[in-house]
């Protein structure tokens, strides 16, 4: 028997108080039958801002954008059945890109579970393999501890999404709740510091290297701002060049002379050649994705590979490494700096290595044919970058050619400024992510660099931006094609453009105006700067329909199944067909 009787609260009230106790101030969601008790509790808790999206996929991507740009977990609230299934793409996206997210889903009452009740879906079953963990809460007394553990799991270690499925009767039923007493059992203990002997060996390898490279990834961003600061120090100490995956852009400043640009399928020639020719590769919070490695048996054949990752399962998954280190990458880099300094190590003479890199750089792999008559998409990104860089904007993207051009031609000086769907490659990510980022960073300039096809996948979220007066800018590179699909069809299917033309496009300017946005259209390179300035000068949301060259391709490119050394730099090197082995790898 307890001496002290705590006040009984409803599950819905317990949930809201537990969220507040976790520091949650913003929730992205959409109401429905199975979450009405939670929405009623929200109504009475003004501490939490609820952002009403137009589709649950938008809620999940907005939470991702909020999380990636602020470093705090994104919180989603959706109803059962279709509410939950609509959010699944965003949940899967957060799982692939290691984004901390807690998604609360309503569920039919416990006595109806399994009866094919109205708006019932097996949310736990559906999300089991695209979440870090998930819960079906059957008693409001468990809710406090579940919420605390869910936030712990979502944010610690390799971050990821956690789903909490709450049946409607559990939201209504009451239980005792004291958030001070809710120390969730810490059964999830992620890696922290690196093993001293191993990290010392890593430092020695780096100090002895004659051709080192730092291959960085999204783990640097996830580890926090200090990981990014530490990376800069380590690069300066070792004199090593730095490249990054798509997800890691911004963790190392693009203005630094040691920056090689992004690596991988659409990475720079110098980054991919340096990866191929290095003698010591230090992989920091990246995961040897197939878009990065190209053909595995030809991947960096002569290097000693060190891999530091917080997730043991990322190590030796596709590429065998010589020195695996399971640790928080930020802490591990700090340890490396400490060891380097305490031993007063000196980097090797790297002049020869840098001379080779200079040679690769001189290829100018990001060059593109200029045009006076039409806007080249790369040019549009370059101008957007030049005209906004002083404002350190947050850039989101959709998925496709525009995403790769943005990665190549927009440059970042700091982390948490680049929000893109890397692993899952989700078209429709950019606009809701921009909305989430703008909610988390009210004073920032937030631009979604989009394609005319991708933007239509979550275009309904324009209404959300209007409702919350979020001045997001959507910059559409409109080439009237699903450009990356068209490019692959040109390069590997002899230009058989099966269903890749963006037919029946809306008038984006009229659409903008219909939603109360400003619409701008530009198709003349000589007027582009003025049009961008007009977009930036407007203090509300803007949709910019940038009509670009229709048939531009994204180069450089490592064809699927090819090695880093087999980069295609220009379209004239493309044969127009590919064997079955290569086709199957796409």
């Amino acid at each position: 028997m307890r001496n002290r009787k705590l006040a009984e609260k409803s599950g819905a009230d317990i949930l809201i108080e537990a969220l507040i106790a976790q520091g949650v101030d913003t929730v992205f969601g959409y109401p429905g039958g199975a979450v009405l008790p939670i929405y009623d509790a929200l109504f009475q808790h003004p501490k939490i801002r609820h952002v009403l999206v137009r589709h649950e996929a938008g809620a999940a991507h907005a939470a991702e954008g909020y999380a990636r740009s602020t470093g705090k977990p994104g919180v989603v609230l959706v109803t059962s059945g279709p509410g939950a299934t609509n959010a699944v793409t965003g949940i899967a996206d957060a799982f692939m890109d290691s984004i901390p997210m807690v998604c609360i889903t309503g569920q039919v009452a416990t006595n109806l579970i399994g009866s094919d009740a109205f708006q019932e879906a097996d949310t736990i079953g559906i999300t089991r393999h695209c979440t870090k963990h998930n819960y079906l809460v059957k008693d409001p007394a468990e809710l406090g501890a579940v919420v605390a553990e869910a936030f712990h799991i979502a944010t610690q270690g390799r971050p990821g999404p956690v789903v909490i499925d709450i049946p409607k009767n559990v939201q209504v039923a009451t239980a005792e709740f004291d958030h001070h007493g809710n120390n969730a059992a810490k059964r999830y203990v992620p890696a922290g510091d690196a093993d001293f002997a191993a990290i010392t060996q890593a430092v020695e390898l780096l100090a002895k290297a004659k051709a080192p490279i730092l291959y960085t990834g999204g783990g640097i961003v996830n580890s926090g701002p200090d990981a990014s600061a530490a990376l800069r120090e380590l690069a300066a100490l070792s004199g090593a060049p730095v490249t990054s995956t798509l997800m890691g852009l911004g963790s190392f400043p693009a203005s630094d002379p040691a920056w090689l640009g992004m690596l991988g399928m659409h990475g720079t020639y110098e980054a991919n050649m340096a990866m191929n020719q290095c003698d010591v590769m230090l992989c920091l919070g990246a995961r040897f994705d197939d878009r990065v490695t190209g053909r595995l048996d030809a991947f960096s054949p002569n290097s000693i590979k060190v891999h530091i990752d917080i997730d043991r399962s990322s190590i030796n998954k596709t590429v065998r490494v010589d020195l695996p280190i399971v640790a928080d990458v930020g802490k591990a880099i700090r340890q490396m700096i400490t060891i380097w300094n305490s031993r007063k190590l000196q980097a090797q003479q790297l002049d020869e290595w840098w001379a080779r890199i200079k040679g690769w750089r001189s290829v100018g792999s990001l060059n593109y044919p200029a045009s006076q008559s039409e806007i080249m998409p790369q040019y549009a990104i370059e101008r957007l970058y030049q005209l906004t860089k002083d404002k350190a904007p947050v850039i989101t993207t959709e998925v496709g050619q525009h995403q790769m051009w943005a990665a190549q031609h927009f440059h970042f000086e700091s982390p948490n400024k680049w929000l893109t769907s890397g692993g899952l490659g989700t078209m429709g990510y950019g606009l809701p992510a921009a909305i989430g980022a703008q909610m988390g960073n009210p004073d920032a300039l937030v631009i979604d660099i989009a394609g005319e096809a991708s933007i239509q996948m979550n275009i309904q979220e324009m209404g959300t931006a209007s409702q919350y007066r979020l001045p997001v800018k959507v910059f559409i590179l409109n080439n009237e094609w699903m450009g990356m699909v068209r490019q692959w069809q040109q390069l590997t299917y002899e230009s058989r453009y099966s269903n890749s033309y963006s037919d029946s496009l809306p008038d984006f300017v009229a659409l903008a105006e219909a939603y109360g946005w400003k619409g701008i259209r530009c198709d003349d390179p000589s007027k582009l700067d003025d049009a961008i300035a007009e977009m930036l000068a407007y203090d509300g949301p803007v949709m910019f329909d940038c009509r670009v060259s229709k048939e531009a391709n994204c180069f450089p490119m490592i064809p699927s199944g090819a090695a880093h050394t087999e980069m295609i730099l220009h379209s004239d090197e493309v044969s127009g067909t590919m064997d079955d082995e290569a086709k199957a790898l796409v």
Binding site: R128, R187, S313, N316, K317, R320, E581
Partner: protein, 171 residues
């Protein structure tokens, strides 16, 4: 183009997991989702308060895949510990099977005689049938079942194996 087969080796893994709803689905589903094999799987709670279960999984794969399987299992929140018995050293594996055989005359006598040799116990008998209970390593049970096919095998139920490390330490 044809799909290539990979060479595989057999490994016995034991997992110590939280005994809560969905844990087994999480593990089994992860195997399916990532294309790993499960040859057999046993699960039962092993702690006094029923909070912890032990799962024994027999799987197949090249060494690097086995390593990934272990890492992916460890990544799951309710999984506390994963041991690869095959890698860890000397261990014992046991499986129980129930084998129903029907027949008369010589075949019935022969079934009984073979069961005796294999130390299978009779746990049910009718005029025309036996159910044998046999415990042992998977090879022994395979052999016994193969022999029973010759003398009137009706059906077999097998538990899948459980295993422990030899010696005084916990695995």
């Amino acid at each position: 183009m044809h799909i290539k087969e990979e060479t595989a080796e057999r490994h016995v893994l034991t997992l110590t997991v939280d005994n809560e709803a969905g844990t087994l689905a999480r593990i089994a589903g992860m195997f399916t989702a990532r294309g790993y094999n499960i040859d057999s799987l046993t699960v039962a709670d092993i702690s006094e308060d029923h909070a912890i279960s032990r799962i024994t999984i027999v799987t197949k794969g090249p060494p690097e895949v086995i390593d990934q399987i272990i890492a992916q299992c460890e990544r799951l929140v309710p999984v506390h510990k994963v041991t690869d018995l095959t890698d860890a050293g000397p261990h014992v594996e046991r499986e129980l099977a129930l084998v129903k055989v029907a027949g008369a005359g010589d075949k019935r006598v022969e079934a009984m005689r073979l069961a005796d040799i294999y130390r299978a116990r009779v746990i049910d008998a009718t005029v025309g049938s036996f159910i044998f209970e046999i415990t042992g390593g998977p090879d022994k049970i395979d052999t016994f079942v193969a022999l029973m096919r010759e003398v009137g095998l009706v059906e077999v139920g097998r538990t899948g194996i459980v295993g422990l490390m030899r010696g005084s330490e916990a695995s």
